[in-house]
Symmetry: C2
Subunit: 428 residues, 2 copies
């Protein structure tokens, strides 16, 4: 039987899991793919770090970059992480030297995917990154193969388990952001530095990758990104009363000839599918023609789910299934018109914490009307014993820039006691 | 650019849609797959049937079987339907003559898939059948590729849109089976002869195919099949009161060393994911290691969704992605131990319509206890003015054969006014 020689570079949780999984399942994977996945090298920054397996001496590479030069290597699995530094060096060199590459590195692909893809195509090797977007959800393969027929006009969903866990726990347990974050760290659902998960950057990289696959465009970093740190438990509870849940969603939409990419907390109807996804799950929803709406849901992260994705990429290369990294060749990919969301219209939820005195409500509603934003619902909720009120407003669809201008204007008023909130509403 | 010559045989709704779609999207599909999908022949039983496109004379084949002999054909798309007759002849001959085959024919694959697969493997051609199982849900490709790493222990879900539409409409609109079926026919959600959809046969064929893909086994027709015709609106309403919905589900489970295949109406908790799938949607849920639970949801039928699946198979062949039809070679597939469900345990819902007289309840509970089935909940509901009662019982997990024996025994009692009901309960 044919063999494919593999080097695994990076042996953290995921690299270690993958190594053991490949060794254990070599025989069944060989049978399924008619080719043996043969690990010839492994390497990582620190050889002496504690790992739950023994490193075979003959496999260890002192200089990880040697894997890119060795004639004995067909495929390099990059599990170092980060858009720059060693990961970048490894992947660029590997492709230049005609090695196939499989990576879980969303930051690298979101930043250098276009360049890397050109090199891979020129050298007729695979660059596969299923594991970079929502680990256990086989979304990239589905876009490139299962749903290849479709013209896609929208991709959205829950792409970050940590922030989804936090928002759904705040909702269920009526706790503050900080309380839930502390618990998430204890449970291992949040890293010790969870900032990329919470500020939307992680979702942003995944969305950029999905959107270029969906729309056959080059990667664009014209993307609006907000995280979940500003969400108070009051927002969650008002949303609930109004029939909504708050979720951190990523959206890429083709509207007319423009593509809008955005990542932000969103109010969505409790009864919608996306609202039902709680905890660390991920879900990706695709609207396409002819298929209609397709949904893929699964575990988004962790060594096990990520290994499932890495193995699917490795298997694809074992079978000799050469494909363009982004579905079509770089020559055919387009520079589409990515647009800022300021001109797009949204319904929105706004919350103002104001002093309880005459004229405030009338001033606020005047500012709305001056900015041509019409109000659909208004709730005034006096805060007991504090001489202040919460004013919650749901608007009809209005330009994003007008909504922002309202918040900006009102924030400058002396009656405002706390920074005002603006959370967009999505219909489904 | 390379070309792949295609013959489409069968030009009903699906064949016609596919033909037009391929013609219209030839260029983008060529770019994505680096190979041109080139239709060289089309054929169908009746040339003169009204179609919404004009048949080009030079494409028409009078004898559809000529496509299997022509040197000018690389791939045959079979859209005739049915496990026997012309479809069978076409697919066997095509594979024997080393033509790739793409088909939407679940009945044929469920019955002859093992034989066909051996011929395809021997002749190194593809036999692809994504469109045979839940059209718009790319489940087969996901099992064979995206989730290839996984050892799967359970696959289940909603595989028939017609019956799901009927059950969910009965639930929402509080209507009888017949009322809803009539409406479904008007709306085009049920065929004029919907028996295969309603008696579970359609789900059964799909489940057999999925289960051999999941467990690397040969197809087995050891499968328990019940349809939805016996479901009354009373069952739906009692289920509702007890916190459940009734769905027609297909299940294939590996428990210990045994595989159980079953298709039947099931009571599932309202709060579960599957319960939320209403209308004509399909959803497939996979439990695997390492991936955990994966869900794929989408439109299950209709020309558009089915074409999405057919094109994904055709594209795979355009890219030269040769694969074993059932994921691993026939030599490696196993004869697993498929077992009847009579020895498996289920919780169950039972409904008895009985005369309202002393001793009945005590007799019923005695029969339960004689059969070692313990009762978890019992509701006695007198039917106003009819001197009869409904007795609803939810049991603890009990052997299927004991549950059936109870129904059988009680049905013979003179106090029984209507055939008793037994609906199994699944936990998620």
């Amino acid at each position: 039987m044919k063999k494919l020689n593999i080097a695994i570079i990076g042996l953290g949780n995921i690299g270690s899991y993958l190594y053991k999984f490949l060794e254990k399942n070599k025989s069944i994977l060989s049978k399924k793919n008619n080719c043996v996945p043969n690990i010839v090298y492994i390497s990582a920054k620190n050889k002496r770090r504690k790992r739950n397996f023994k490193i075979k001496k003959k496999l260890w590479l002192n200089n990880y970059l040697d894997a890119t030069k060795s004639k004995n290597v067909d495929l390099i699995v990059e599990l170092i992480g980060g858009a720059e530094g060693p990961a970048k060096k490894l992947v660029f060199n590997a492709l230049k030297n005609k090695k196939h590459v499989v990576t879980a590195n969303k930051a690298l692909i979101a930043k250098y995917g276009d360049k890397l893809s050109r090199i891979a195509e020129r050298n007729k090797v695979n660059l596969e990154f299923e594991a970079s977007v929502c680990g256990g959800v086989p979304i990239i393969r589905s876009l490139k193969e299962g749903l290849i027929a479709n013209k896609i006009n929208k991709v959205f969903g829950i792409f970050n388990g940590t922030s989804n866990y936090i928002l759904s726990s705040m909702d269920k347990e009526n706790k503050t952001f900080q309380e839930v974050l502390d618990k998430a760290k204890q449970l291992g659902y949040a890293e010790s530095d969870p900032s990329a998960d919470l500020n939307g950057q992680d979702v942003s990289a995944k969305l950029m990758i999905l959107s270029s696959l969906c729309f056959n465009s080059f990667l664009s970093n014209n993307i609006h990104v907000e995280g979940i740190k500003e969400i108070d438990k009051e927002d969650i509870s008002y949303a609930k009363k109004l029939g909504y849940k708050i979720k951190l969603l990523g959206y890429a939409e083709l509207i007319g000839k423009h593509i809008y990419q955005r990542v932000h907390p969103t109010l969505i109807k409790k009864s919608s599918y996306v609202a039902s996804i709680d905890g660390v799950l991920n879900a990706v929803i695709i609207d396409g023609t002819p298929v209609g709406q397709s949904i893929i849901q699964g575990e988004g992260a962790g060594p096990a789910a990520t290994t499932s994705a890495l193995i699917s990429d490795i298997s694809s290369i074992l079978r000799g299934n050469t494909k363009f990294p982004f579905s079509i060749s770089s020559q055919e990919r387009k520079n589409l018109n990515f647009k800022k969301i300021s001109d797009r219209s949204f319904s929105a939820y706004l919350r103002f914490e104001v002093a309880d005195k005459p004229g405030v409500l009338s001033n606020i509603t005047q500012i709305f009307s001056k900015n041509n934003v019409s109000i659909k619902r208004l709730v005034q909720d006096p805060n007991k014993g504090k001489r202040s009120s919460s004013i919650i407003i749901i608007t009809h669809p209005s330009k994003d820039k007008s909504l922002n201008k309202i918040v900006h204007t009102i924030n400058k008023r002396s009656y405002v006691k706390k920074r005002s909130k603006l959370i967009r509403i999505d219909e489904k």
